[in-house]
Amino acid sequence: MSQTSVDDLVEARSEYSAGFVTDIESDTLPPGLDEHTVRFISARKGEPQWLTDWRLKAFAHWKTMPEPTWAHVHYPPIDFQEISYYSAPKSQADGPQSLDEVDPELLRTYEKLGIPLHEQAVLAGVVNANMPPAPSMGSNVAVDVVFDSVSIATTFKEKLAEAGVIFCPISEAVHSHPELIQKYLGSVIPQKDNFYAALNSAVFSDGSFVYIPKGVRCPMELSTYFRINERNTGQFERTLIIADAGSHVSYLEGCTAPMRDENQLHAAVVELVALEDAEIKYSTVQNWYPGDENGKGGIYNFVTKRGLCGGARSKISWTQVETGSAITWKYPSVVLRGDDSVGEFYSVALTNNRQQADTGTKMIHMGKNTKSTIVSKGISAGRSENCYRGLVRISPTAENARNFTQCDSLLIGGECGAHTFPYIENKNNSAIIEHEASTSKVSDDQLFACQQRGIDSEKAVGMIVNGFCKEVFRELPMEFAVEAGKLLEVSLEGAVG
């Protein structure tokens, strides 16, 4: 974050200083979670009473909920009292002062991904990363990029404002657009939805808010802007995107480079609402720290993502490339309530070493002539466990619903696992549901055939895996499709001898 945006934040907060109910001076809460914690967070953000109550309701319910154990993942119990639930934006002094202080291993990965020096600095959390670096820091190219991205950010802001698009932190939207927040927050994922969603509802730190007005086609991929501005978003992120009637937006979350992040548990919530004829395309590239070869460390990524196709002919499309995190637990889903609405889920989940992923989707058909497509590609290497879990539900009201599901698993080496748990619940005889599944293995013969043509084994595995994922990659915004491919190669390092 640049100096200016930090100042803006400070300023924005001081406006609501009257709302503070406590005079704790520290900006970071000690570990622990009770009602006071929830009140403290809400007060710190100067939230209106209704939101404080909303959080408290979520917290009260969360306390009564058992932690889910049905996923095919294993980890030691999490002590929720050991976590600190509020930490102000990192002060200038906290981060590394220059790229020299950043873990060289991390920089090597950035370099492999072809990320410009300037962005490397931002991603690694280097203080003052938006300042033009000293000439010695990089080539002219990198310096150009620095100047570009600062100006791009400004141009973007103007362009978005012109189109009437609202794109801001959700904590800001609570104040600037309370009517939208009050109407839609929790409308797709209620506070009581599940254990982690309830936790998030009680203690969410911040996240993004997007509103696209009627009939507007968002003039740019929101990704680009996002990439330049977001980092250290915190462990309880909350995102809300509303596409009003006839509007269109494409949003990319995350980053292809591993984020510098100290948080172990991430429990984010993402809600999407598409009204009549609106379309939301939501892409995720997630490469958080996966832990070391022996499964030590790494992020627990327990995320609830759901979209509501509320209006007729609306469309929501999730595309995800998941290569990071020690444990991934997420099922981006679509509720197809509007007639003729369309839900899509395209997923690549790669696990290596000791990583575990339990991921998939839910397509809930309610409207007539609703259509859903699921394409899931799971890649397991090392001693990892990779699991697809999906639900296709056709409600009695969903006349002529249509689903196509394709689940493919690719195994690399002999010690990993791939599992598929497809659930189909059909309550309408007019539905057509198709399910295809395959499991294959990168064989020694394939690797040798590549090597015999001069291609080293690492590159060969990358090529085979990329080929396997093609159908999903072509759903990604173009510039990210290339990076996603490179990312798989980096993530598979050491997967073959």
Partner: protein, 251 residues
């Protein structure tokens, strides 16, 4: 200097505790411009020789040496052996679904160029070149867009191997029973490709069961491999003699 020099080569196959000796003191010298045919009964070690030379995992050299020009093959990884000009046309070409032939071949050509410090071929030039080569071995250029060998017939897979030979122009080409399972038309296409590749600067090792292939690719030397050793060498008339009498009179 000889192109390929194999001296007293001993090799085993299998895991550490149950190794089985296959090559037992094999000698072979191939000079530039020469075609050597290696024949022999089943289980004599013909394919093992191809696999050991190209570095397929699962084989262990226990004694002796093998050099391509001045490079000690035993010290090189399989992809490095390919990069210095060793090519193996596979007996059973493997399918790589999802990776198109075009992509695979470009990656191969680029890797070789990089290893040799040469410039990468421009993609347009490459596509034009590879299309011509495909046509020259009777493969529809549409094949190039499909996954590597995916859904190819046996004959198409073998012609694909020959197309790769013509594309990569290696120093030494080892053809491991490329003729097996081919009808006479495909056999002629394959032979024609090998003859086109052949020059005074490179060498060919033909591993085959049948004399038939040698009607089309004329060898300078014919060797008989039995029980891991070359037990008889001669010119092309030896192949005819084997066709007549079988291997029993030699072993």
């Amino acid at each position: 200097m000889s192109l390929l020099q194999v001296t007293n080569l001993h090799a085993t196959v299998g895991a550490q505790d149950e190794q089985k000796a296959i090559l037992k003191g094999l000698n072979l010298t191939v000079n530039p411009g020469e075609v050597h045919a290696i024949m022999g009964p089943n289980g004599s070690g013909k394919s093992t020789l191809a696999n050991v030379l190209s570095g397929r995992p699962g084989y262990t050299v226990t004694e002796g040496s093998m050099h391509l020009a001045d490079a000690d093959l035993a010290e090189l990884e399989p992809h490095e052996r390919a990069q210095i000009g060793l090519f193996l046309a596979f007996q059973y070409p493997v399918e790589i679904p999802g990776v198109s032939n075009m992509e695979f071949l470009k990656a191969s050509v680029d890797s070789l160029a990089r290893a040799r410090g040469e410039d990468q071929t421009n993609t347009a030039t490459f596509i034009k070149h590879i299309r011509q080569l495909a046509t020259s071995v009777d493969l529809d250029p549409q094949f190039l867009k499909r996954g590597v060998n995916e859904g190819f017939s046996g004959g198409e897979k073998k012609r694909n191997e020959i197309m790769q030979l013509l594309l990569l122009e290696p120093k030494l080409a080892i053809l491991d029973e490329t003729d097996s399972g081919l009808d006479i038309d495909a056999l002629q296409v394959v032979a024609e490709g090998v003859n086109r590749y052949k020059s005074e600067n490179n060498g060919v090792v033909l591993i085959t069961h049948y004399q038939r292939l040698l009607d089309y690719i004329v060898p300078d030397f014919v060797h008989v491999l039995a029980d891991g050793k070359i037990i008889q060498s001669g010119d092309k008339s030896l192949a005819l003699e084997l066709e007549d009498k079988g291997y029993a009179w030699l072993t």
